[in-house]
């Protein structure tokens, strides 16, 4: 059965009193809970995406020995709100020769693809909208809407920069989906399930219980996943679709105002999502070391643990962006097809062989005698 | 409302629309779109029968294979379309009259 947040909450007594409040109407109560939680998650992630732009500017300033934004609010913290207001009040310009329908559709597709992934992201043991038993597969599948949005945005703008950016974006995203998916498959093999609850539940709070240190192949799979995820989110050093020095700003050259804001927001939230996936697949997710009881306050601690891991990875992503130079297009494709994909397939086979030979035990269990 | 017949009717509509697309459109890519619709109609039928008639998962397996075959068909078909465009500089189906050269 698929676990959802409603089925989790129904374990507690206050659910019954809530149910009485809604006149014993299960459907309406479930709908209300889902709606509230969806609003909370979308609002939270939009804030994280907004703060991401601030973090990006602040960290890049730090790496380049500058100060960065420091005028709006304390330490410039409200800079992202100012940017947001600026974006919303800008004039919405559409090129005369643009394909109107697709031009409107493209940013929405990007945003839909990213927000749809938030439904299965495990913030904590109970604070997960729907723990589908095809969770990670669903996430990979629905996030390919972003590639489509990038491509359509590039096509619909009817400008050469956008066209080149869109073509590059789509080819990059569908190419790098392969090593990413195969690396995830190796972890699915170790966990014995595709639901996030299963995958995180198979790991522990301490590093030697993480899938990252389960075996050497899983360790390599983490790095293949990281490189592939960077490329899938169009982050530097793989930001060819929006390479400023060659393509003005790629597929969103012609977009202004809030439509451009949608693209930017989708990109920052997607980075958060792939960091969260990496944290829950490889780094133990929301598990707290040494605590296995399940009461409601623990959920808050689990949430903090998950967010800490995810935001640390987010920092690394920004760090990489301001450290490494951009690749060329041919290098991009050869990295994917000649190196990452064979390595990912080897990892998958290695994990399968490890599971058979060592009976599913991790290195730590083999060394420490196992339990 | 949610019974076998409603699924069958939806699948029938998909199939007929796919067929009409294949017959009516002259663009080779559009014909491939029609084929995708037809394959989807058949896969939907398999899953619907699997739930409402046999109650096992063989229908799911069948529709998985249909999806696989549709992907392979799209890849090869579009490769042929691109090759055809390189030779004829059009993707009109009526221009496809030669088997060689």
């Amino acid at each position: 059965m698929n676990q959802t947040v409603v089925s989790y909450l129904s374990k507690y007594e206050f659910y019954d009193s809530l149910l009485a409040l809604f006149g014993n109407n299960q459907g309406v109560l479930a709908f209300t809970i889902y709606l509230l939680l969806a609003l909370i998650i979308v609002g939270m992630c939009a804030t994280i995406g907004g703060l991401g732009t601030y973090a990006e500017r602040k960290i890049s300033a730090d790496l380049q020995a500058r100060v960065g934004p420091n005028r709006v609010g304390p330490y410039g913290l409200l800079q992202f709100l100012a940017d947001g207001v600026k974006m919303m009040t800008k004039e919405d310009i559409m090129p005369f020769t643009a394909d109107k329908t697709l031009f409107y559709l493209a940013p929405l597709l990007c945003l839909t693809g990213v927000f749809a992934t938030l439904a299965v992201l495990p913030f904590s043991g109970g604070f997960i909208m729907a723990d589908l038993n095809v969770g990670i597969f669903y996430l990979v599948a629905i996030s390919s809407l972003v590639g489509l949005g990038v491509f359509l945005g590039g096509y619909a703008s009817n400008s050469k920069w956008s066209m080149l950016g869109g073509m590059r974006g789509a080819s990059q995203i569908i190419s790098y989906e392969i090593p990413v998916t195969i690396s995830i498959l190796a972890i699915v093999l170790l966990a014995g399930g595709m639901g996030f609850g299963t995958i995180v539940g198979q790991q522990g709070g301490l590093p030697h219980q993480w899938f990252l240190f389960h075996n050497p192949f899983a360790f390599m799979a983490f790095f293949v996943y990281s490189v592939g995820a960077l490329a899938e989110t169009n982050r530097a050093p793989f930001d060819l679709p929006e390479a400023e020095s060659e393509l003005v700003s790629g597929y969103h050259t012609e977009y202004t105002g809030m439509r451009f804001g949608f693209f930017a927001l989708a990109e920052y939230i997607e980075v958060f999502v792939v960091c969260g996936v990496a944290a829950s697949l490889f780094l133990g997710g929301y598990n707290i070391p040494g605590i296995s009881i399940d009461i409601l306050p623990i959920q808050a601690v689990q949430f903090v643990v998950f967010m800490t891991k995810t935001l640390l990875l987010y920092y690394v992503v920004i760090w990489i962006r301001w450290t490494l130079p951009r690749l060329r297009v041919d290098q991009l494709m050869s990295v994917c097809w000649k190196y990452l994909t064979p390595i990912a397939i080897l990892n998958l086979m290695g994990c399968a062989i490890w599971m058979v030979v060592f009976n599913g035990k991790s290195i730590a269990e083999l060394v420490l005698g196992g339990h | 409302m949610m019974n076998l017949y409603s699924y069958l009717i939806i699948s029938l509509i998909l199939f007929v629309v796919g067929l009409v697309v294949m017959i009516a459109r002259k663009n080779i890519v559009a014909i491939l779109l029609g084929i995708e619709l037809i394959l989807n109609a058949s896969a939907l039928n398999f899953v619907a029968y699997s739930r409402y008639v046999t109650n096992n998962l063989d229908g799911h397996i069948f529709s998985l294979f249909i999806i696989v075959i549709a992907a392979a068909e799209a890849a090869v078909g579009l490769a042929i379309v691109i090759r055809f465009f390189q030779i004829k500089e059009t993707i009109h189906i009526d221009e496809a009259t030669q088997l060689r050269n």
Partner: protein, 178 residues
């Protein structure tokens, strides 16, 4: 309740977008309508409790086939060319004229009527089973079926995919200038 809402919206999406594929002249818009139709079919799979098939549908079609179609449209110019050829009736062949749509609809109608005639005979023999609304996980069962009962088809499909991959690469490769 939710299930019925999902069913109605998916069914409407599927049917309307399929008709959109047929009616829209712009091939790029046709591809986007196809995307909507395929997403609707994925929703219908979800109402049937086929979670794995639904997600596979999204994965393969949204991430693969539709983007491939859009690529092909762009690489072939993205617009419809006027053909110099004539069709069987000697009419100038355009991008689907009234005649072709008429013939298509007629064939479709004949097909529908024949099938309804056939199906009505079969439908009376189908036993009506009690359907419980529980949706058990299909993932592990599908996994077992794929490597036990249907292992031959599984292996053959892998060979088919390899063949399609190599074949597509060879066919689409630019011709050598000699």
């Amino acid at each position: 309740m939710f299930l019925q809402l999902l069913f109605i919206s998916s069914a409407l999406l599927t049917v309307l977008c399929a008709i959109g594929v047929l009616m829209v002249k712009n091939i790029m818009h046709s591809c986007v309508f196809l995307l909507g139709s395929l997403l609707g079919v994925a929703g219908l799979y979800a109402t049937l409790g086929a979670d794995f098939v639904a997600v596979t549908q999204i994965m393969v079609y949204v991430g693969g086939v539709v983007i491939l179609m859009l690529f092909a449209v762009m690489l072939t110019g993205g617009k419809d060319f006027i053909s110099r050829a004539q069709n069987l009736l000697g009419l100038p062949a355009s991008m689907g004229n009234k005649l072709t749509y008429g013939v298509g609809l007629l064939v479709g109608l004949v097909f529908v009527l024949t099938n309804i005639k056939l199906l009505m005979g079969i439908a009376q023999t189908i036993p009506s089973k009690m359907i419980n609304n529980e949706f058990p996980s299909t993932v592990s069962q599908i996994g077992h079926l794929l490597v036990k009962d249907h292992v031959l088809a599984f292996e053959i499909s892998s060979v088919l995919l390899l063949g399609a991959l190599v074949g597509a690469a060879i066919i689409a490769r630019p011709r050598k200038q000699n």
